[in-house]
């Protein structure tokens, strides 16, 4: 069913009794042209673009739990294209352009809100680096606006601009950045894929791969063996385990990142704000809760929950930036498992196994990448060639020295 205002009206007249489930719950077939492992944002968007754009509809998405139950439902919903380095810059630019027409493409309201994303600078040097970043963003064709100290104060009056340790010297505004409703993104792609014939198979855990003569033949799952022409994995957080089943050794560590939300408040902040002091960023959801997050807990972890020291650290950063946040009650905190790559940049590539494709290493930037990741991964799977927006995300870059290290921290995944 195509969603429209007329449908809402007509269904309203009949007591809303005729809405149908948005996707089927099919039994797995014995063979698919393409199997995607992982029913999160990236897996669902890959399946959608395989069917909608690249003409491959005999596709299954295998999900161990339920659709959208992993990191696509656990992030802080920020969308932006403010990257610096060749490789990242064109990719996130491509992704943001896809976000801007995503609702029309999917006929689904993902509640994209381009409310603007601001990074604060707290020293002359930091403001200089923001100016440089802004120039790089504009050269990529995206928008960036450097704000003076006075302009920042005028636009963001609710911040503590005169903190003695971290005074606000200026800011970089990226107006096309913002937020989207994270679950709706997963649901929209799932619906679109299902409508085009993709089988979304939940409660189906991958247990192993059948690989012969260097070619993948199919997938062993908790619901039996399923044959496949090609297999793509989008299991960020669990990449090392699924990869190991196929004999891959990867430059990935798994870390836990926490996020937080306060009780609902009246509208107080219209933008997404990133503190330049450390890793702290916040925005206000449409329900009114302040949604914020900070650093990783710093140690390897597969627990989808964090520890208290980081809760305290994030709360301190919030208090330093925006003292009035102390009046709000923190409602919930949660954790997600980040696929931290060794240079902080994702991998979308083929592997040494014929027909086996890899999409991983999203660190904590996977949500904004969902549309472009699916598009570029579907392009790679269907054509065998890299999409031009993602042709630097190679697995071999660590071996050849072509790392894309946005923060310049080297091979320390917890610091990216």
């Amino acid at each position: 069913m195509r969603y429209s205002a007329l449908q809402v009206f007509l269904n309203g007249l009949t007591g809303n009794k005729n809405w149908k489930p948005v996707w089927r719950n099919p039994e797995p077939k014995s063979h698919y042209d393409v199997i995607i492992i992982g029913g999160g944002g990236h897996g669902l968007s890959t399946a959608y673009y395989l069917a909608a754009k690249y003409g491959i509809t005999n596709v299954a998405v295998l999900e161990r739990g339920y659709l959208g139950g992993g990191n696509v439902g656990r992030n802080t919903t920020i969308v932006r294209a403010n990257y610096f380095l060749e490789g990242n810059s064109q990719f996130y630019s491509h992704s943001l352009k896809m976000w801007e027409s995503l609702e029309q493409e999917l006929n689904y309201n993902v509640m994209l809100s381009q409310r603007g994303q601001v990074i604060l600078g707290h020293s002359d040097g930091q403001v200089d680096s923001l100016a440089r970043r802004g120039n790089m963003m504009r050269m990529q064709g995206d928008d960036a606006e450097l704000w003076s100290r006075e302009e920042t104060k005028r636009q963001l009056p609710y911040l503590n601009h005169d903190d003695p340790r971290f005074p606000v010297y200026g800011a970089l505004m990226h107006w096309r950045g913002g937020t989207a409703r994270h679950d709706a993104v997963a649901w929209g792609f799932a619906r679109g894929a299902d409508m085009r014939g993709v089988d979304l198979i939940q409660n189906c855990e991958v247990k192993g791969f059948r690989i012969e003569n260097g070619k993948v033949l199919g997938v062993e799952t908790s619901r039996g063996y399923i044959g496949a022409g090609k297999v793509g994995m989008t299991v960020a957080g669990r990449t090392s385990q699924v990869g190991e089943m196929a004999g891959l050794r990867l430059p990935i560590e798994s870390h836990v990142l926490q996020a937080f939300v306060t009780e609902g408040l009246k509208p107080i902040m219209p933008h997404v704000v990133s503190f330049g002091m450390g890793h702290f960023y916040l925005s206000q959801s449409d329900k009114g809760g302040l949604v914020f997050g900070g650093d990783l807990d710093m140690y390897n972890s597969y627990a989808q929950r964090g520890n208290l020291p980081m809760v305290e650290h994030v709360a301190e950063a919030g208090m330093a930036l925006m003292p009035m946040i102390g009046k709000a009650k923190m409602l919930r905190s949660w954790g997600g498992i980040m696929d931290m790559s060794m240079d902080g940049t994702p991998i979308i590539d083929k592997t040494h196994i014929d027909g086996f494709f890899l999409n991983c290493g999203w660190c904590y930037g996977g949500f904004k990448a969902v549309p472009a990741s699916g598009d570029c991964f579907a392009h790679l799977i269907s054509t065998g060639n890299h999409h031009k927006a993602a042709d630097k995300f190679l697995l071999s870059r660590f071996e050849t020295g072509h790392v894309i290290d946005e923060t310049g921290n080297g091979a320390t995944p917890n610091l990216h």
């Binding site: 090392s240 385990q241 050794r249 990867l250 430059p251 990935i252 560590e253 798994s254 710093m298 140690y299 390897n300 972890s301 597969y302 627990a303 520890n307 020291p309 060794m342 660590f398 071996e399 091979a411 320390t412 995944p413 917890n414």
Partner: protein, 90 residues
């Protein structure tokens, strides 16, 4: 999380800095070749269970420690000084 420092005893994890996998103790010989160094610098086992890892007690005795920790439950098992771990491995 509390970490049992071999010198200071059990201390709050906030006193420690995390470095990563203890495989970093096994630096290849200078002439081991590019592939060995690629493996050393970039490749990680990233297990879901027991991980051998390096912690630095920077607010305490400033020793490097090798800890065995379950990365799903965050439970610590054995801890020893990195220097002892390295000697023991030889």
């Amino acid at each position: 999380m509390r970490i049992n420092c071999p010198i200071c005893g059990e201390r709050d994890s906030r006193e420690f800095h995390y470095r990563g996998s203890a495989k970093l103790l096994d630096r290849p010989a200078p002439d081991a070749g590019a592939e060995a160094f690629y493996d050393y610098v970039y490749i990680r086992e990233n297990p879901t269970g027991l991980n051998r890892e390096l912690w630095f007690h920077d607010s305490g005795c400033r020793s490097w420690i090798v800890a065995e920790r379950n990365v799903t439950t965050h439970e610590f098992f054995k801890t020893e000084l990195a220097v002892d771990a390295k000697r023991g491995a030889k």
